[in-house]
Symmetry: C2
Subunit: 203 residues, 2 copies
Amino acid sequence: MFMEPSSPSDMRSHILNEAARLFVIRGYDGISMREIAASCHISKPGLYYYFVDKEDLFLAILESSLEELTALISEATSQPGGTPQKLGFLIHAIFTRLPMERRALIRLAAQEMNKLSPQKRESFSSRYHATFIDGIADILRSGIQKKELRSVDPEMATWAFLGMMYPFFSATGSPRFDETAVVHFLLDTFLNGLSPQTGEQRE
Amino acid sequence: MFMEPSSPSDMRSHILNEAARLFVIRGYDGISMREIAASCHISKPGLYYYFVDKEDLFLAILESSLEELTALISEATSQPGGTPQKLGFLIHAIFTRLPMERRALIRLAAQEMNKLSPQKRESFSSRYHATFIDGIADILRSGIQKKELRSVDPEMATWAFLGMMYPFFSATGSPRFDETAVVHFLLDTFLNGLSPQTGEQRE
DNA sequence: GGCTATTTACCGACCGGTCGGTCAGTACTA
DNA sequence: TAGTACTGACCGACCGGTCGGTAAATAGCC
């Protein structure tokens, strides 16, 4: 009775999945609660039984994505080996452990966060930065400290790192590339660049 | 009498500017024609005097941004020097010749193109790819041919190149960095990567 | 120059439709 | 019989877009 839902009424998670899929395709303003309801084979008030409003539903999706990412980053951070290995692990994990839909969610969070009401946005975005952005920046920072990375602004590098990946997170748009090739290309480019190598390089 | 309007009724371009600013901040679905009208100190029907519908106004903004970009790319392509110089010119031109609002438009086009109706989207996106994406891919391709760049998939590299820049195109969100530093960082990272250099490197 | 006809550049009021959200039920369990 | 998991009907606000109208400038004619 006072235990929290241990089996979270699979309808709730079904809604979460379906709504995430739709938000990714059309954006926050692009789909209506009616469409989400129809896509879940439920009535619109049925949606409001599980979520207090549209924002609440959207936020629940963003939160779960952030949680997932945070777990991946902390796993990458505690990975044995040097910074290149940690970064390689992270890219590899994102592309192989997350289905495309969830990868697209990473982009969605970054792009549509501002659709939230001011207080919720502030709250989410500060957690988003503290765990996700700073988590990656910390890996980069420690790499710089250990001379495994050149001395650059870690936060700037984090945005570039993320930005490089985003085009390959698209549910629709952008072209389809072989994912193993993308994983390798991203890490290689981020670490070694596109200029021909003059000396021996590490990866 | 039969000359076309040489001074394009500065109201039209005022609307274009104002609407672009608003679309960038809130997205295509995020602002209404009423808000655009109010922001231009004009009535809603006044808007429809200049543009047939919302999509037409939006498309006019995207087209002008694409035109601007295309000009920059062709200028970069015909730049003297090697591929690194062409790429350097392009990044530099984007960051110094385009005010932030117009840079944000580049991102807007990529992100919100899909809000267009199917035929318009198809038409715009094919021109977008043919001139903008392929334009950059061609620079990369010729660089690879001339051994000035490592042998990678030029289209994949184009998306990564663009993706790296996008986080720094934000009108609001994302942090503010020193633009000269960003320009240098982006080119340097794209060409040389973040691993410490072992041999001498070219830029 | 004076007079009319037409065009330009808008505006207030309003349309049908959709939005997010609510409320009063109700079928089904425990 | 008390709660859980919903539903159909509905609300006010707002959406993109259109209607009929109009003041001011411009063009054509004498």
